[in-house]
């Protein structure tokens, strides 16, 4: 189990690596990958019982990335966890690469093809139902975007999860409050989100989605017996790069050379500070 400091360093390195991959590909969903990468860091390094060696084990925990567009964060974390070589990240979106611009099962460690929004939670309900019927103890985690929650299919799945009392199912909302057009509250307001999930029969916890310790605490165990759990993670789109933060332009913008250099410099400064050596 990595220490808090080791985990914080990983988050910075993940940000650096995913920006490199996006820059190399000339494509990617920069802002959303930066907003959810701390969540993925905690899941894959502290919570999920999965590894390349157990990737086909029926009892493994399952992670579904319903907000599939933030796949660069997922690929980066999976490469770090040894599911495929780090160098493959530089094939992102290339001709005949298995690293498509949204998740596919061609990539080791990925459970389901996603990318069209509003699909992951229902699949998670199916997996969790199978675990319940088999009396298996694996947990199922689904990462959703807050903009994504405008898709009505999420709420069909939310109803079913509560109806079947799937307490080993956890939905995590990367609540970065932005979507491609602008503020989620202006495009189609999803608030009060906690009250909505609670009204649908879910246990709800709100956390700082960049606080690794708080995320660990929220995700370590089901939130409540007999109810599915919704972890609403307050995040900042573009987190970690000052000029990308909280700006819808970075939904799927690719940094130019100067922006890229500046972003890496900021992250390297943060890495150096955390390592205790002056930049």
């Amino acid at each position: 189990m990595p220490t808090d400091r080791e985990l914080a360093l990983k988050s910075l390195h993940y940000r650096r690596r995913l920006l490199q991959a996006i820059k190399h590909a000339g494509a990617g969903h920069t802002g959303g990958s930066l907003s959810c990468v701390d969540i993925l860091n905690v899941l894959y390094n502290r919570i999920l019982r999965i590894s390349p060696a157990t990737a086909a084990d029926p009892g493994r925990d399952r992670y579904l990335q319903s907000k599939g567009h933030s796949v660069e964060a997922l690929y980066t974390v999976l490469a770090d966890r040894g599911f495929f070589p780090d160098a493959e990240l530089d094939t992102l979106c290339r001709y005949r690469s298995r690293l498509v611009g949204h998740p596919t099962r061609h990539v080791p460690g990925i459970e389901q093809n996603t990318g069209a929004l509003g699909h992951g939670l229902a699949v998670g309900v199916g997996l969790a139902l199978a675990a319940q019927r088999d009396q298996a103890d694996f947990r199922v985690f689904v990462l959703l975007g807050d903009g994504e929650l405008a898709e009505g299919s999420n709420w069909e799945a939310a109803m079913a999860a509560a109806h079947y009392r799937l307490d080993h199912l956890t939905a995590i909302v990367d609540r970065n409050t932005l979507q491609i057009t602008g503020r989620t509250r202006d495009v189609l307001d999803s608030e009060p989100l906690g009250a909505k999930f609670a009204a649908f029969g879910w246990a709800v916890r709100e956390v700082d989605g960049h606080d690794l310790a708080a995320l660990t605490a929220a995700l370590s165990a089901p939130l409540a017996a007999g109810r599915p759990g919704a972890v609403l993670a307050r995040t900042v789109k573009g987190r970690g790069v000052s000029f990308m933060e909280d700006n819808p332009r970075w939904h799927h913008a690719v940094p130019d050379d100067a922006e890229f250099a500046r972003a890496l410099q900021e992250l390297d400064t943060a890495i150096a500070a955390l390592e205790g050596t002056p930049p």
Binding site: Q112, G126, D134, A157, A160
Partner: protein, 339 residues
């Protein structure tokens, strides 16, 4: 034995069926439900998922016998397919059962992404397909499903003709471990004569002949067979009848062989004439360079006439009499007079 659906077969068609020794079977829906229950009793991994469709899917006995193997999702077809994909991802053999009209339109994106693209081996079961719901109107008709699902990679499309093909298709689907769509109706159908064995893919020769080839699928195979018998009795024509329980992947060899052997080809389906079996066969023949007299019999691109399934079949010529008349016209023969 069920009584014939009122008006599904004219007295002349029923007489032809009797002359052929055909017995009226049950609705394919019931053959499906029985086959699925037998499979599920033998294998705990077999699951049925329903969207308030337990009754219409004849799955009441399944639910009573095997409550741990049925999942009810309520009136929510998108959720039905997504949950089915998740169950399949956990190793279950999943049959997602819902009226074909809702399953294949409301949940089309889940079929495309969660099942076919993700390669989750769900069997999507479209019940009461085509115009089974008759006068309930076009909200309840599935005349688009072949076309929509043929355009999705990694999805087999099946439409069995009779009870035997339906049960065989259910068993084959359970072991195939691949994304699949299976559709059928709810009216009693005649049992076809014993023919070739069943497998996913091949067409089945129901009746030999070299004058006209009827290439039919689903519950329209029976009227095609009756038309072939009628054309032999009244016109002296030897008509080939092929059942295509699988529309995708299509048995292209059976299609080209029929065109090579026969003077005319007629396709028959309970589907719009756009994008179904007929256009699939037309594409095969055009690309093989086989020009034959050719007709696609299905429902035209218009608002469907109001009426029972039998009324609609009669209106659009999906009957023994209508298909025989189409064959005569295609061969420039005079219309038949009274027998």
């Amino acid at each position: 034995m069920s009584a014939p659906a009122p008006g599904m077969y004219s007295p002349a068609a029923a007489a032809t069926a009797a002359r052929l020794g055909l017995k009226l079977g049950r609705p394919n829906l019931e053959a499906f439900a029985d086959a699925l229950l037998a499979l599920a009793r033998a294998d705990r991994k077999v699951f049925a998922v329903t969207s308030d469709s337990r009754g219409s899917g004849k799955l009441g006995p399944f639910g009573q016998a095997l409550p741990a193997q049925i999942v009810e999702v309520g009136i929510a077809e998108q959720n039905l397919v997504g949950i089915a994909a998740g169950l399949a991802a956990a190793g279950k053999t999943v049959f997602a059962v819902s009226p074909a009209c809702f399953l294949t339109a409301r949940a089309l994106e889940q079929i495309k992404n969660d099942v076919a693209y993700s390669d989750q081996p769900v069997v999507l079961v479209g019940i009461s397909a085509g115009v089974s719901y008759g006068a309930l109107g076009s909200t309840h008709h599935s005349l688009h499903d072949f076309a929509a699902l043929r355009a999705i990679p990694n999805l087999a499309v099946l439409a069995p003709a009779d009870n035997w093909e339906t049960a065989a298709a259910v068993r084959a689907a359970a072991t195939a471990r691949r994304p699949m769509y299976l559709r059928f109706g709810k009216a009693p159908v005649y049992d076809l004569p014993a023919a070739a064995p069943f497998a996913i893919g091949p067409a089945r020769l129901v009746r030999p002949g070299t004058d006209v080839a009827f290439l039919a699928t689903g519950e329209t195979v029976v009227p095609a067979l009756l038309a072939a018998a009628e054309l032999e009795a009244r016109d002296g024509l030897q008509c080939r009848v092929l059942s295509f329980p699988t529309i995708k992947p299509l048995d292209t060899a059976a299609v080209t062989q029929a065109a090579q052997d026969c003077r005319a080809v007629i396709t028959v389906e309970e589907h719009l004439v756009n994008g179904g079996l007929g256009e699939a066969c037309a594409a095969v023949l055009a690309q093989a360079g086989l020009a034959r007299r050719f007709r696609i019999v299905g429902l035209p691109d218009e608002e469907t006439v109001t009426g029972s399934q039998a009324d609609i079949f009669r209106h659009y010529g999906l009957t023994m009499e209508g298909l025989a008349q189409t064959a005569r016209a295609l061969l420039d023969r005079p219309a038949a007079g009274p027998p």
